[in-house]
């Protein structure tokens, strides 16, 4: 009886230990001994030769954290491809919700057990920068492949992440409404005056009540005003790059211009379609200004709407200082607090991604964004998409202001609502907006990247 009890306890203990061992082991797995993979070197300027051993062929598991799903974040697929080349390397992907991600990631990166590789959104630059390692890639090669990477260089000429794909605003229009109004492709406007004329034809009323908006930017003011200011050559930040440049004549002119669209030209209304994208999807609005993500929303939520895309108009036919602002989706970061072995694998994986056109192609598809990689910017397959076609001719004249603090958008939104809905004068609303931005940016270590723009010297 006693023997039976001891035997049972021993077997149970051994079983539990075996299970725990299986869960906790980081060194189990396949050993890779084949250095020559028989694969070609990939890449144009940043080159990646897959014919080597990673982690000396010893089994290793690294974590990758992301907030995106498979099909959106290209790292899912590329990590599987990487594992096929290096069977000793397992990249374990952990997905968190957006809010959880930005709370947990910085805390995790502080310690030694944070993920070796992690997805980045540049708006959270200040949170992750202290824990991200410099890319172990030649900067000149990187810039030759990814021209926008120069904007991400720090004072030492190093980068911790760059743009994989970029995006900007375009005008989306409902093709059915366009036809109903008797408009054709020849009516696609290139200037704002032409745009307002077209929008008037697309606006419908039932008595005094608007039933269809020609143009709707409700909820999109902050995105649109920044582009309009750039079109007129006015920067978003002052000369020191640290203070917002909001209270100026250009902002006031543009706010009046947008207000007039609703109040004078009556092509839309602050009371018609509170969310521009939803209103467009519901078939209440003929044209909206939106970034590339709208394609995904339309595909998922409103697949029956027949729509087209054209480039955002400008104030004249002359080439503007910049057509609009752009922002990029970032390449992954490498955790500098991880062990040397983990960091070495992470750096190798990042180089594999950056040299690999498939990574960018998948990002283009998943994120509906334009390739930041130079050799793909004229790619016929990519340019089949109407959004890519609309962005391509403007790409060299798009400016990145840096990972701007949230207040630039949120205080701008408040100022516009104060001027259009709360009865404040434009002067008063803009002055208060500037005050709020100054207050929120006090003590921030943000420095604008506007000075790195190729045509920076042309600004007002």
């Amino acid at each position: 009886m006693q023997f039976k009890k001891i035997a049972t306890a021993t077997i149970a203990t051994a079983g539990i230990l075996a299970m725990l061992g299986a869960c906790g082991s980081g060194s189990q797995g396949v050993t890779d001994t084949k250095k020559d993979k028989g694969l070609d070197v990939i890449g144009t300027n940043v080159k990646y030769d897959p014919n080597h051993l990673v982690n000396e062929g010893k089994p290793i598991t690294i974590d990758y954290w992301t907030w995106s799903d498979k099909g959106v974040d290209p790292v899912y697929q590329l990590s599987e491809d990487y594992h096929k080349i290096y069977p000793n390397v397992t990249i374990k992907i952990k997905k968190q919700t957006w809010d959880d991600y930005w709370t947990k990631l910085p805390l995790q990166l502080k310690g030694k057990n944070g993920p070796a590789v992690f997805n980045i959104h540049n708006s959270y630059d200040s949170l992750i920068r202290p824990y991200a390692a410099d890319y172990d890639i030649d900067q000149a090669q990187l810039e030759a492949d990814y021209p926008s990477s120069a904007a991400h260089e720090d004072a030492n000429g190093k980068v911790k992440y760059i743009d994989s794909v970029i995006n900007t605003g375009n005008i989306y229009y409902n093709k059915t409404m366009w036809k109903e109004a008797g408009l054709t492709d020849a009516d696609i406007p290139t200037t704002w005056d032409q745009f307002i004329d077209v929008a008037k034809k697309l606006t419908k009323f039932d008595g005094d009540k608007m039933t269809q908006a020609g143009f709707n930017f409700n909820g999109a003011y902050s995105a649109i005003y920044q582009g309009l200011n750039y079109q007129k050559g006015t920067l978003l930040f002052k000369d020191d790059g640290k203070q917002a440049n909001y209270d100026n004549d250009t902002t006031k002119e543009n706010m009046q211009f947008l207000k007039d669209m609703y109040e004078k030209d009556k092509i839309g209304s602050v009371n018609f379609g509170n969310d521009y994208s939803e209103s467009f999807g519901q078939g209440q609005t003929a044209m909206v200004y939106a970034w590339g993500w709208l394609e995904g929303t339309m595909k998922d939520k409103y697949p029956n709407v027949d729509y087209g895309v054209f480039a955002t108009p400008t104030f004249s036919t002359d080439t503007p200082f910049a057509y609009d602002r752009y922002n990029g989706e970032s390449t992954p970061g490498v955790n500098k607090n991880q062990s040397k072995e983990q960091q070495a694998v992470a750096q190798d994986f990042v180089k594999y991604l950056l040299a690999n056109d498939d990574y960018i192609r998948q990002a283009v598809k998943g994120l509906n964004s334009f390739p930041a990689k130079a050799n793909l910017q004229n790619d016929a397959d990519i340019l089949k998409s109407p959004v890519m076609k609309a962005i391509q001719p403007r790409v060299s004249r798009l400016i990145w202001p840096g990972a701007t603090p949230a207040t630039v958008e949120s205080s701008g939104k408040v100022a516009f609502e104060d001027a259009t809905q709360n009865g404040k004068s434009i002067d008063e609303a803009v002055a208060e907006g500037q005050k709020a931005m100054d207050k929120d940016m006090k003590g921030s270590d943000f420095v604008s990247a506007e000075s790195k723009y190729e045509f920076f010297s042309e600004h007002k």
Binding site: K209, N271, F272, G273, N274, Q282, T407, V414, E417, D418
Partner: protein, 300 residues
Amino acid sequence: MKNKDVSARTGRSLLSRIFTLRNMAVTFLVVYFAIFLAYPIYKAFAGSLHNWNPLNETYDWVGFENYKDILTDKLFWTSMGNTAVFLGWSTVFRVVIGLGLALLLSSRLVYAKDTLRGLFYMPTITPLVAVSFVWLWMFDPQFGMIDKVTGLNINWLHDSKWAMPAVIIMTIWKDFGYATVLYLAGLMNLPRDVYEAAEIDGANSVQIFFRITLPLLKSTTLFIVITSMISYLQAYVQFLVMTEGGPGTSTYTISYLIFDQAFNKNNFGVASAQAVVLFIFTAILTLIMFKISGDTEGLA
């Protein structure tokens, strides 16, 4: 051997004296409150004296600078004003509707009382986020139910005149059931003999309500008012979902402002200072309520 037995017995009794159920329960409660109540309050107060962003480890001493900033900030006072309006109307309607329905349900005029009680209480137990989203759609001027049913043409949540009333309407709808249930419990416990005596004395129903029912329900009313005030001072979820503080800053409340400072702007120092002011304000308001009612024992 005998001594060994005695010491073993003494040891056991000492241990059993220390590890009693009472001591363990008290220790658990003390530790629980120390970790989840005292420490966060201390941390918020300490944080209010610093330029604090825990996400990038900024923690620089600034003294009372954050307090100076918020007390001279127009938005802080706008938010306090909005909070007072929200709190006042929501509390008054919660009490009035709650009491009215409780009286109706306790009268002989209404059938299916259990069903109605359940129906009235349902919004209270529905998650606030879900309710806020439903009302967000209901208030939409193009496809929302409210304008369609009433024939009005109001952009409820995007018009600064109507945004706050719209959120108040939603909050009252969600919360009146709680007051109804508490008042029903209060009404059931009122002494019958007082009513019988009043009827014998010839008191009419209005006199009975104002002279007997309402005074006897004083402690219930006080409880509802104080708990409502505390929860409405902390309200931000409905504002986050329905208005994001807008249009402009017309529906910023103090708790939404704290949320915005901490989680949108990562300015935990200023947010903590605002939270400390809110804490003091809540305490003062509660004390005033006790003083006004003169019934501090009613809640004990």
